[in-house]
Symmetry: C2
Subunit: 248 residues, 2 copies
């Protein structure tokens, strides 16, 4: 799709490894990780990579690893040019490091929690590298599928309208959009839970909302939001609002 690509260069794989349970990786992901020459993974500076931990058992001994450490940007406002420049520069550098391997003929697999092209960091590498190199995406189970499956909660059916919302939206926008959808997943709940609770009440959805923390780990917390006594939540907590009213 993107012009002539070198036959001698390596191939870039975006490999989804699913929501957290290592068994929720696909057979194709396990094979791709076993066959790659280089494994790249994102991590916060000073932290182990979450996606690498999910994939660990499928990495060959002695495989070349390329850790990609996000820059520390906590002091920069997300709307600032400085933040934008720091992030852009980080992805440019990561793409350059991968390019070196691809140009040397090595296949590079970027390990991605969830699905590579659904709210994933891999997308920034894909946008930079897909015009020059052959790429292949191995789809993965998303974090939100992992959450509603662990909760045993059917989320959407038939002609339901389903939407994914960031909890960072203003309260009135959250309320409007929650009322306008049959089913919803609200992500990045963190310090926005009190606002989200008000928006859910306003939209008539509070009684259906389920709060999920560490969705697909052994210590998952899954409770009706109305029964949660406080508004403390980690950044990656999600709230599920199931659709499917009037089920046959």
């Amino acid at each position: 799709m993107s012009g002539v690509k070198s036959n001698s260069a390596g191939k870039l794989f975006g490999v989804g490894v699913g929501p957290g349970d290592p068994e929720l990786m696909t057979l194709k992901a396990a094979r791709a990780l076993g066959e790659a020459d280089v494994i790249a993974h994102f991590a916060k500076a000073g932290h182990a990579s979450h996606s690498r931990a999910i994939a660990a058992r499928h990495l060959r001994a002695g495989i070349t690893e390329l850790p990609l450490h996000y820059p520390v940007t906590t002091e920069l406002p997300k709307c600032s040019n400085e933040y934008r420049d720091a992030i852009r520069s980080f992805y440019d550098g990561a793409a350059a490091a991968i390019t070196t391997h691809l140009e040397a003929g090595r296949n590079v697999a970027v390990i991605c929690a969830g699905d590579p092209l659904f709210y994933g960091s891999y997308m920034h590498l894909h946008a930079r590298l897909a015009p020059r190199f052959a790429t292949e995406i191995v789809a993965g189970v998303t974090g939100m599928s992992g959450c509603w499956s662990a909760a045993g909660m059917p989320i959407a059916q038939g002609d339901d309208i389903f939407t994914v919302l960031p909890a960072t939206l203003p309260e009135s926008e959250l309320a409007r959009r929650l009322a306008d959808a049959d089913a919803a997943v609200v992500m990045k709940v963190g310090r926005h839970l009190s606002k989200l609770r008000r928006a859910l009440r306003c939209s008539g959805r509070l009684d259906r909302a389920i709060y999920v923390e560490r969705g697909t780990t052994a210590d998952a917390v899954t409770i009706p939001l109305a029964a949660k006594p406080d508004d403390e939540a980690p950044y990656f907590a999600v709230v599920l609002v199931p659709g499917w009213e009037g089920r046959p």
Copy 2:
């Protein structure tokens, strides 16, 4: 969560087998199918089951199979009581057939294309059986993830608002909702493509829209909708509208 359940009864598994490529099944799904006593799968009357075909290589020789054939309802309007009664009666019967196995202590795995709790028929069985029997959901890669991965198209990023819409909506509703989201997947395109094309144009999204047919099969069709010369589409075709404008 749903009261005391019998220890001697079998367990019900909703097993997602992914979007079509048998390798996009999870390791957990492969194990669940290998361990089940009974495998149930949905199919149209007179047709082979699509989900069973995806899972075929993981079924034990001689495994007990329980095919669940949808009733033929083509002559009934979907909003009619007759249609609703036929569907309800079908799911009641399917749940009863599975109950017989569970009560005899056999574990039953229902094979589901995509993800069991995301627009899947399994949900109707789950709603009927989860109050009485232990259940476990094995999350799967959704059909839409399979489509945007095969197309190599990043769909949503950062604080994007993502929505799933049925093409059955009225044109003005489609246009309003497409304009209101950053990223969208439109399902069940079929005979609605001409209307959908007008709604995409009206919402300013036509130039971004990608048409996908048989998304994760070897003969997939993936083209910009604006370049598709006709409005012919099968029922299961989807249109992807990527978000992620202003990417860093």
